[in-house]
């Protein structure tokens, strides 16, 4: 240590000032000794704390003034100092150098806590004694100790919480815990009461620091009895200090067991009351706020742990009950964790499969799955667990005989109050027989379907053949009709010629014969003409265009005097819906319909015909009407290509027809029985039918014998 030398003039004054400060003002104890360790100075601070005046100690050996130094082996620090060493005495290792009374009474220290330095006193480079500086660090040490206690309590509390939450038997832990903090807090007694919710009595679960007799006396408390009962009733801690002076009769018992202060905490969690935890001390009359808060925290932790243990117990009981039940059902029952690991599978599974006990747990049950089902079932289970939706699956499990049996499995999640999945609960039901039946049924169905497909194909083939035949027939009849007309015309022509030239020269009988020949030839010609026009309708190439039906009908009427007044009245209810049609075929159809409508009328009655139109739905068909094509087959209505039709109605006041006739009237060469007296070839409606069919339309009739007919044709509507 180097001290900068001061100017000599000031040196003496400064020394005096320093000595003055050291002796009277310094906030430390300072004393010096000579090389024999006899005290040579003793400052005011030391006088005050040692109650020894300087003149009483100066000249005295240090060991006599402070006798404890020797027994505490502190004298050698002074010897070391005499050898030139500077010694440090820390309060942490020595507490104090000089045994003075504590400066802070509440600190609880028996002596003033000190830290000290003992150094050699140098004079001209020689050691001439020792100098010791003593500092009072009681307050600092006390604060440190408080801090350390707080820290230790915090640690104890957090450790306690951890232990309590893990403990199966929190009551045993309360006992253990008590032993750990009892000494630190100077708590001598604890009582742990359990509340019987039915009787509202408190029953002593465990306690410490009481004799057997005292325990027996405190074993049951009626509702509201004693401090513990009061705490329970008010749901508030009951603090009872100064028991000795308390007049409250509740204090009597505790006084008899020698307690000075008592506190009871109700064990409450939310609205659940579990019991009471109480503490007592024999050494102090009251609790500090710190202690109360510490004990209350302990009580709160204990309440949490007790509640948890109770809930766990309830859960365990219900789980055991569930397992017992699960073993009685014939199905496989399982439970799984929220993450999908099986944590329980009943005995049925193991008796059915070859898996060893617990082998199905976690994902072990997958081992028994048929290899074709494994990947699928694993995916299904995984996605159910992930999404939280029910699991439904069918799969095969290998039984003890190595045979695969079909099972239907179903699992659903059990959710907690917050909606999170707690567990999966599921079952597997054997459906092997059902599945086999189902498989057989499916096979039969497949066969049937195949058969039906074959049948349809056959029908298709036959129909095509038939169509070809019809086409051949149609072309044949065209040829026949065409070739027939020439000889018929010849017959007709020559017949008329003979009648004109030789009609007067031949007998009436012969003339009548010729007349018949000519008339028959005329009929024959009309027939062949109609047949030709039918085959033309059936075979010619047509193009369908949008048309307005009204002018076409107008033309038909204008061309035919039989459709005009006074011979007939044909009324068109305008406007008529436009249609997609072939103009010539459409004209032919209307001409034929109007011919019929005005022809088959009772004699003497003026034919009246009404033509109107409406739009009908393709699915709509008038009851009682059969849609047929020429071969007598039911018409195939194609709903897909044409959802709606324009229906043209031709209503007459003619003779009408019965049901049977209505069925046949559209066939070629078919004539109504009632129409025998009317001229005609029986081809008109057949032409109509063929024409409508080729224009992708439909047709039909509604009629009552003697009450007129209502013919209709459906054609696709113009856009």
């Amino acid at each position: 240590m180097k001290v900068k030398p001061l100017p000599s003039t000031h040196s003496q004054e400064l020394d005096a000032a320093l000595l003055m400060w050291t002796h009277h003002l310094a906030p430390h104890g300072i004393f010096t000794t000579d090389t024999e360790l006899r005290i040579t100075s003793w400052n005011h601070w030391l006088e005050r704390h040692s109650m020894l005046r300087a003149e009483q100690v100066i000249g005295q050996p240090l060991g006599r003034v402070v006798p404890t130094l020797g027994e505490r082996q502190l004298e050698r620090y002074f010897h070391d100092a005499l050898r030139g060493e500077v010694k440090v005495l820390s309060s942490a290792l020595h507490s104090y150098l000089l045994p003075f009374p504590p400066t802070l009474t509440e600190s609880g220290f028996s002596h003033m806590q000190q830290s000290a330095r003992v150094a050699p006193l140098m004079l001209e480079g020689r050691v001439c004694g020792t100098i010791t500086v003593v500092e009072d660090v009681t307050e600092r040490e006390w604060q440190n100790r408080q801090l350390r206690y707080e820290h230790e309590r915090d640690e104890l509390l957090s450790e306690t919480l951890g232990h309590l939450l893990l403990a199966r038997d929190p009551d045993a832990l309360v006992r253990d815990l008590f032993n750990r903090f009892a000494a630190q807090l100077a708590v001598d007694t604890y009582l742990h009461y359990r509340l019987d919710p039915e009787t509202e009595r408190l029953h002593l679960e465990s306690c410490a620091g009481l004799t057997g007799g005292q325990q027996a006396a405190a074993s049951t408390l009626e509702k509201g009895e004693g401090f513990c009962g009061a705490a329970m009733l008010r749901r508030q801690p009951a603090v009872a200090p100064f028991l000795e002076k308390m007049v409250d009769p509740k204090a009597d018992f505790f006084r008899t067991v020698g307690l000075e202060a008592f506190v009871a905490f109700p064990l409450i969690l939310g609205d659940r009351t579990l019991g009471v935890l109480a503490f007592g001390t024999r050494t102090r009359e009251q609790w500090t706020a710190d202690e109360l808060s510490f004990l209350q925290t302990i009580a709160r932790y204990v309440a949490i742990a007790l509640d948890r243990a109770r809930q766990e117990h309830t859960l365990r009981v219900s789980e055991e009950r569930f397992r017992a039940m699960a073993e009685t059902v014939p199905d496989i029952i399982f439970t799984a964790s929220a993450g999908g690991r099986f944590d329980f599978v009943n005995q049925r599974f193991y008796s059915m499969t070859n898996l060893a006990a617990d082998g199905a747990l976690h994902f072990g049950w997958f081992q028994t799955l048929h290899e074709d089902d494994l990947a699928r079932v694993r995916d299904e289970w995984r996605s159910a667990v992930k999404s939280g939706e029910s699991f439904n699956s069918e799969f095969r499990l290998r039984d003890t005989a190595g045979r695969y049996r079909w099972f239907f499995a179903r699992a659903r999640p059990i959710r907690g109050p917050q909606g999170s999945i707690l567990k999966w609960f599921g079952s597997m039901t054997e459906v092997d027989e059902l599945k086999q039946t189902h498989l057989a049924l499916r096979e039969a169905q497949a066969q049937l379907k195949e058969h039906a497909a074959t049948l349809e194909k056959t029908v298709e083939e036959r129909t095509t053949e038939l169509r070809e035949t019809i086409l051949q027939l149609e072309s044949f009849s065209y040829t026949v009709a065409h070739d027939l007309r020439a000889p018929i015309r010849a017959l007709d022509g020559y017949g008329r010629m003979v009648l004109a030239e030789a009609g007067n020269q031949i007998s009436a009988q012969a003339r009548d014969g010729l007349d018949r020949i000519v008339r028959a030839a005329g009929r024959m010609d009309a027939l062949t003409r109609d047949v030709l026009s039918y085959t033309k309708v059936a075979t010619q190439q047509i193009e369908l265009v949008p048309i307005d039906p009204a002018p076409v009908i107008e033309d038909v009427i204008v061309m035919n005097p039989a459709l005009q007044e006074p011979r007939a009245v044909v009324a068109v209810v305008r406007p008529l819906h436009h249609v997609i049609a072939h103009p010539t075929l459409f004209s032919q159809c209307m001409s034929n319909l109007l011919d019929n409508a005005t022809k088959f009328v009772p004699p003497g009655l003026q034919p009246r015909v009404i033509i109107r139109s409406e739009v009908v739905d393709a699915k709509h068909s008038t009851p009682g009407i059969r849609h047929r094509d020429l071969s007598g087959r039911k018409l195939q209505l194609s709903h897909g290509t044409c959802p709606r039709y324009v229906r043209l109605w031709v209503e007459d006041n003619g003779i009408g027809m019965d049901g049977l006739t209505q069925e046949k009237v559209f066939g070629i060469f078919e004539r109504a029985r009632e129409a025998k007296q009317y001229p005609g070839t029986g081809v008109g409606l057949a032409i109509l039918a063929k024409a409508v069919e080729r224009m992708h339309g439909r047709f039909g009739v509604e009629s009552t014998l003697g009450a007129g007919s209502r013919f209709w044709i459906d054609l696709p509507p113009a856009p």
Partner: protein, 205 residues
Amino acid sequence: MELTSRHREALTELINIGYGRAASALSELTGRRIILDVPKVDVFPVEHVGKALSKVLRGDVASVHQVFSGPLAGNALLLLDQEAAMLLNALLLDQPVGSRLDAAGREALIEVGNIVLNACLGVFGNLLQVQVTFAVPSLHLESVTGVLGSISVQEEELQYALMVHTRFRLKDSNVSGYLVIVLGITSFSRLLHELDHWETRQLSR
């Protein structure tokens, strides 16, 4: 200046004698058996000691620093990293390991450092038959560079550092620290010279 293996061995032995004294004082003080080991002794020019210390001590270090003067003059330091300081403190005071060094803890550490440093320098003084005078020890919590800043006194003379790896063994635990004694070349040469003599004396005995 290179340390020969003979010098190194002699130095180690000498320090061991000092440490034996310190250990018995510490054991007596704490009431527990404490052993001080010297796994390694090195000598560096003072400029290199920073680098050597940075390799073995991380972060802030607690250093007990004591200046000594007289015929043998220099700086003596006991260095512990924060963790070791805390552990040593807890072991000596029989307390749980804290998170910071409080005033009492710092004082205790000063006392321990003081005992170790004095013991070590005491045997040097005895060997050289000189009186070593000490200043009051102090404790600092700072980086290694900070510690070295406080010892690099502006001396004309070349400075050497004796670096002693020190191990405190107590209660089945080990705490490692470093004792650094910085001496001028003259003091150091004298020390080595006396070491040779001492060895000879030992052999002739």
